[in-house]
Amino acid sequence: MSRLIMILILGLASLGPIVPVYAQVDTFEFDTAEQQQRFRRLSDEFRCPMCQNTSLTGSTGGVAEDLRREIHRMIMDDWTDEQIEQFMFDRYGDFIFYRPRLRAETVLLWFGPLIFLVVGGLVIFNIVRKSRAASAETLSEEEQRQLNELLDRKS
């Protein structure tokens, strides 16, 4: 009996979608496969301003639909990627990019982690250097003489 249920479950599961299902249901038409790929890639790279944690591809938000339509229009009009990115930036700012542009305002965002890495690295380097220096310290001639003296006195 349990085996039968198992087979049923597996059977049902195999009916499920094999490719990931996206929330969007747009039916954009493209002239070439390359245009379609560009559309995919660009909609993946922009963040939906309304839902914030989804790309334009995965969002059903009204504004995401509109922006996908705009991207489609721009691709069909042979805009370059840079032009499309500029279009988005002029309207929605840095927020629209999952990978924000390198600008004065975003320098800290890009290189902040690097600063932490460098500072942390320097601290560790210092600690290691100091402990090395401490362990490798040898006595000067004068010190050695004093030590021997002390040892001799004891015996």
Binding site: P49, M50, Q52, G61, G62, V63, D66, L67, R69, E70, F89, D90, R91, Y92, G93, F95
Partner: protein, 178 residues
Amino acid sequence: MLRLKYFLPVLVFAALGIFMYIGLHLNSRELPSVLINKPLPNFQLEEVRTNTLVSKDDLPEGPFLLNVWGSYCLPCLVEHPTFMRLSEDGVIPIVGINYKDRQGAAQDWLDTNGNPFQFSVMDEDGRLGIDLGVYGAPETFLIDKNGLIRYRHVSVLDEQAWQEIFVPAIEELQREES
């Protein structure tokens, strides 16, 4: 000097903590607009009631409010009394952008709730909305005398927001002029 060195990690942690605490209380829905101090985009759209074509030239002289609304938008109902009062008292001209709505529904909404707008343009496909960086109704822009966008308010503009944000902002605009 040696003491300070040992406290450095604690200080760094405290600084991070402060930033994160502030971040925790930021409203992530209020994205800074890149259009501040930029001119309004051009448009040519039909008016929601009369179907006459309206363009940028038909906008009132600033300062005026540009409110993005829709009949489907519940928060718009919440801010609606504020706009009704502002329009009845003649405080400031208000122009509507009927954003991604159907004309029939929009007209019904105005008939039922009252019309605070000098006019409303129909942005059915959201094209003007995109040019304004809108991501959903309601949003309200404050436009100055020169047609520049000076402030963008995301979500409900209630009496409190009006008094605390818009009144000082408009006074600031008037100070600039004089």
